[in-house]
Amino acid sequence: MTAVPLWEVFVRPRRGLSHQHVGSLHAPDATMALRNARDLYTRREEGVSIWVVPAASITASSPEERDAFFDPAADKIYRHPTFYEVPEGAEHI
């Protein structure tokens, strides 16, 4: 028998927030995965909307790429507002 696929589950905790990853589960298809996610991850009113995504469909950056991906952002501090000096007396900036 083929393995039952793994699904990653994302829940929107309440309106106004984005979906957040909450965990995973196994289900034969998307329809069942969505129901299982409802029963497993929203028993205590934790959500108002659910996504399920086949785990196999996720492409992730790898730890080996960590330096190349994320380090170059470190020295570009001019992207943050705190980099700039604001002359005394200027308001609402």
């Binding site: 039952v4 589960l25 329809t31 069942m32 129901r35 299982n36 029963d39 497993l40």
Partner: protein, 235 residues
């Protein structure tokens, strides 16, 4: 005016269905399904509690939900026989849920717009739960009916075994047409055959009058044993 027996019938249906469904805990085919069945049993148990409490108030003799659940004998229960039949296999459980949830949907749809405000309130809450039970049992009936040869065989056997007991559901005010159309649609998509009315001369009945199958007394013996062993105790 709503009669005590009418409300007891609704409450007993939900209670006995919940008791049977809860037997699946630790026995479901997968953990995800164990959780799903427990959710549905909890919904039914919640409905039973509201309905039995209301029945006790209508009766006016101070009986609580627990008095009614634990201190009546099987001849005093008013549930249909369908819900008391033994647990059976997974096909029995889900086909029974399909038949019963579709019936409850018709029932509660009627109560929501009925004269009894209290029942309307209970029905409005229960209707959302039942919609999920219909969804769950539909999905599984499709998968069992149209899955493997073995699952198809088991699902068809469950339909054939349970069908005679569905007639009792429609002895009261709930119309059968809408229910039958909904059942037909699911069974057809699931490649399952619905027994024809002409062929089904076996139509067990009596639950609403307290005449049950042999199974209910055993179910109650187990459910009530502890409560009855300590008369008057609080839990």
């Amino acid at each position: 005016m709503t009669g005590v027996d009418d409300v007891l019938a609704l409450g007993d249906d939900a209670l006995i269905a919940a008791q049977r469904l809860a037997e699946w805990t630790t026995n479901a085919p997968e953990l995800e399904e164990d959780i799903a069945l427990a959710n549905i049993a909890l919904d039914l148990l919640g409905q039973a509690r509201l309905l039995l409490t209301y029945a006790g108030e209508l009766e006016g003799e101070g009986r609580t939900e627990d008095d009614l659940a634990y201190l009546r004998g099987d001849r005093e229960f008013r549930n249909v026989q369908l819900v008391e039949l033994p647990r059976g296999d997974f096909a029995d459980a889900l086909v029974r849920m399909l038949f019963f949830a579709l019936y409850q949907r018709e029932l509660y749809d009627g109560l929501v717009i009925g004269d009894d405000a209290r029942l309307a309130e209970i029905a409005a809450k229960a209707a959302k739960e039942v919609a999920y039970h219909v969804d769950h049992s539909t999905l599984w009936t499709l998968r069992l009916g149209d899955g493997t040869p073995e699952s198809h065989r088991r699902a068809q056997e469950a339909v054939d075994r349970l069908w005679p007991y569905t007639h009792e559901l429609f002895e009261g005010d709930v119309p059968r047409e809408g229910w039958l159309a909904a059942v037909d649609a699911v069974l057809a998509e699931a490649t399952l055959t619905r027994p024809s009315d002409e062929d089904s001369r076996f139509r067990p009945t009596g639950g609403r009058k307290g005449v049950h199958t042999e199974h209910l007394s055993y179910l109650l013996a187990e459910m009530q044993v502890l409560h009855r062993a300590h008369p008057g105790a609080s839990w």
